[in-house]
Amino acid sequence: MPVAVGPYGQSQPSCFDRVKMGFVMGCAVGMAAGALFGTFSCLRIGMRGRELMGGIGKTMMQSGGTFGTFMAIGMGIRC
């Protein structure tokens, strides 16, 4: 976990900061995964062009939101 570094030493981030960081990381992983798997599944369905981009975007948001929530919870229970 990142530690807040200042000129007068280090301080441990609060639980809320850890949960927030977990959520951000989870969203990043989830959106990347959504982009990969979403591309594959949408292409297989036969989407093309704007419809394809829309489908991938939707998958990315769903995946990012779900993954972010779960990783935030994971960080929270370890505070």
């Binding site: 530690v3 570094v5 200042g6 000129p7 977990g22 990969l36 929530t69 919870i73 229970i77």
Partner: protein, 172 residues
């Protein structure tokens, strides 16, 4: 999940299994609460009861799935640590792939390959984000020196060394 200090093997298996179960129950509870609320008949009492019922029934199942995945992942991870004698991201990625494969065994070899790829890719992404985060933290640490230079810059402005010295101490 390298964002926190993990227990050494084999206690890590128990720790990760419990942690995964908790994540599944809480996360599953959140999503099932929303789903139950939306699927219930109109009326605040109906919706609330729908929410509670959905959570009560589905959350433990979701938690169980997470626990199985987490427990198996950690077991394989610890096995690889023992076999290879070192701990690095490749252990996690391999464990993710193998876990996916094992849990899809009932569906046949083709599904095993697909699940293994998905597991491996997912763990690779998690490791990748973790590494980027580590670099970001290191970058933040490197930005600290500019702050430390400010107090010393104030010292010459004092002119005489005598008053400057206490001021210098004050900043540190």
């Amino acid at each position: 999940m390298e964002e926190y200090a993990r227990e050494p093997c084999p206690w890590r298996i128990v720790d990760d299994c419990g942690g995964a179960f908790t994540m599944g129950v809480i996360g599953g509870g959140v999503f099932q609460a929303i789903k139950g609320f939306r699927n219930a008949p109109v009326g605040i009492r109906h919706r609330f009861r729908g929410s509670v019922n959905a959570v009560r029934i589905r959350a433990p199942q979701i938690g169980g799935s997470f626990a199985v995945w987490g427990g198996l992942f950690s077991t394989i991870d610890c096995g690889l640590v023992r076999l290879r004698g070192k701990e690095d991201p490749w252990n996690s990625i391999s464990s993710g792939a193998l876990t996916g494969a094992v849990l899809a065994a009932r569906s046949g070899p083709l599904a095993m390959v697909g699940s293994a790829m998905m597991g491996g890719i997912l763990l690779a992404l998690i490791e990748g984000v973790g590494i980027l985060l580590t670099r970001y933290t290191a970058q933040q640490f490197r930005n600290a020196p500019p702050f430390l230079e400010d107090p010393s810059q104030l010292t010459p402005k004092e002119g005489s060394p005598a008053p400057g010295y206490p001021n210098y101490q004050q900043y540190h």
